[in-house]
Symmetry: C2
Subunit: 304 residues, 2 copies
């Protein structure tokens, strides 16, 4: 059995009944499992974590998008998080017996259906991008829903699928294959946010740091401490432990203690195995983990 | 679905066809999975790793024992590893939705059948032990097959199940519920085995070290280095990282580098999560691991 993960983001984080209806669309399908979903009222955004067999998963994501287009109207949408569509972004992540190239193909099948059947312009991003400037989601989303009515007229921003005009209430949607993303926060024992900012700058790709790291420094006011907030966009090539040790190293320069870290949301077993292999000076793999063996067997049986 | 793990040890490590016949008995059962099996010719012993639903697993273990009793004759058995029975020891480990108390009950069901139907005396050990001196398997096995013909006459060593006389060719068998055991080796950059022995002594329970650690120092002659070879008998209470860090600490005293470590055989996801939580100063749990969520779902579906 092939398994793909998807973490679609919808631009609704306040009306629970709407998000539940979107999630319900996924639950209609066999061999598609909703692992988790959450809403954020400040961001006015919800995130669903799904795993499934490719064909059923694509159908489920299409139905969820269709429901989101019906129920979400971006003309009335406010929230802290930038957004451009009712179904804002739909990433596909290879999880099991599946290659990145296959996920790129699946993203094109899904994008084509959303564009043609729902009349929502679709941009392929990350590994599915058809132009280098579309790899980074932030480039596509720049200008947001409101700005897209102009942006879409620029030939450089002609959509990959669907009409050449923004859907009046549902905007535009990004679909793409990508590596698993790990959201990782490290808390520092100081109230001085400039130190978190300096460390973020030291470790992130954009200012000379690690290739697959995005990072910002933020203040946790209620706790009186600061945090380096990180996205690792390819944890196989920039592993968790290397990011953590580099933060420890930089924090030492300021005499600031590293208090704790947290991984936000779900993370893959691989990232645990890498971390343990480093610290215990060994070379583990998932074949040695009991639960992983059991999963292999049950995935095979479920695929019969 | 409830899942129990078992790692039965059979006293045959040279005749592959015999071990294959024993393993084949387990494969007859639905919802029993053979994750791994291996033979050691020097030890003249084989170890099978099974996972299954309790009822089927117990039946599989009974059939494997029956086959071992048929095909293995301890009167002709030589090997480095101490042994007392054709099926030497059968541990039951709670893996999924199952308590240690339930595993104790299962071990009694299995022990009773082996004793009564196969005529092999059975001793309950570890958490299933009926006397404190039977908790430690080494106490039961002391004297081995050859010594048991006298030992069994001592009222203190009356079997828990089966006849009061040793099976003439198949000896006696130990059955018991226990925690998962992690076999863990740490390699040191020296050829002086006394340093490995001193470190083993420092960390093991029997000489004042960590509660759930057994350890010896050995020489790896072909590599020109030495090794601390460890069994962690309860990794929840004596975690892997604590053992490793204590070895690093002691090795420093001798100016000897810790080169690498290795985990022998399979290990549970829990032990990875503990280790990562320590080194990254965080607090993870299996609910955050994608594969673990997927396993939960598939175990539920397989149980339907």
């Amino acid at each position: 059995m092939k398994l793909v993960e998807s973490v679609p983001n919808f631009s609704e984080g306040r009306r629970k009944e709407v998000v539940e209806k979107i999630v319900a669309e996924a639950k209609k399908y066999d061999r598609v499992w909703v692992l988790d979903w959450s809403m954020d009222a400040d961001h006015n955004r919800s995130v669903v974590t799904l795993v499934g067999e490719p064909e059923n998963l694509i159908n489920a994501l299409f139905d969820m998008t269709k429901k989101a287009v019906e129920l979400i109207d971006l003309r009335n949408h406010t929230g802290q998080h930038p957004r451009m569509g009712a179904a804002d972004v739909i990433p596909l992540v290879p999880l099991y017996n599946v290659t990145m190239d296959e996920c790129v193909q699946y993203s094109k099948i899904l994008g084509k259906r959303i564009g043609e059947e729902l009349g929502v312009p679709v941009y392929l991003y990350e590994k599915s991008a058809t132009h280098p400037e579309r790899e980074n989601l932030a480039n596509i989303r720049r200008g947001e829903f409101e700005g897209f009515f102009e942006k879409i007229k620029d030939p450089m921003w002609k959509p990959d699928f669907g009409p050449d005009r923004v859907h009046p209430s549902a905007g535009v949607t990004a679909v793409g294959a990508r590596e698993f993303l790990i959201a990782f926060n490290v808390n520092l024992g100081t109230g001085d946010v400039r130190i978190a900012e300096k460390i973020a700058k030291a470790i992130r790709f954009s200012s000379g740091g690690l290739r697959y790291v995005k990072a910002i420094g933020i203040e946790l006011k209620e706790k009186g401490i600061v945090q380096v907030s990180i996205n690792i966009t390819n944890h196989k090539k920039t592993p968790l432990y290397r990011v953590f040790e580099m933060i420890k190293m930089e924090a030492e320069r300021y005499g600031v203690p590293v208090l704790s870290s947290e991984i936000v949301g779900l993370f893959p077993l691989d990232s645990l195995i890498q971390t343990v292999s480093y610290y215990l000076r060994t070379n583990l793999n998932s074949k040695k983990v009991i639960e992983s063996n059991l999963l292999d067997i049950l995935v095979k049986e479920a695929g019969k």
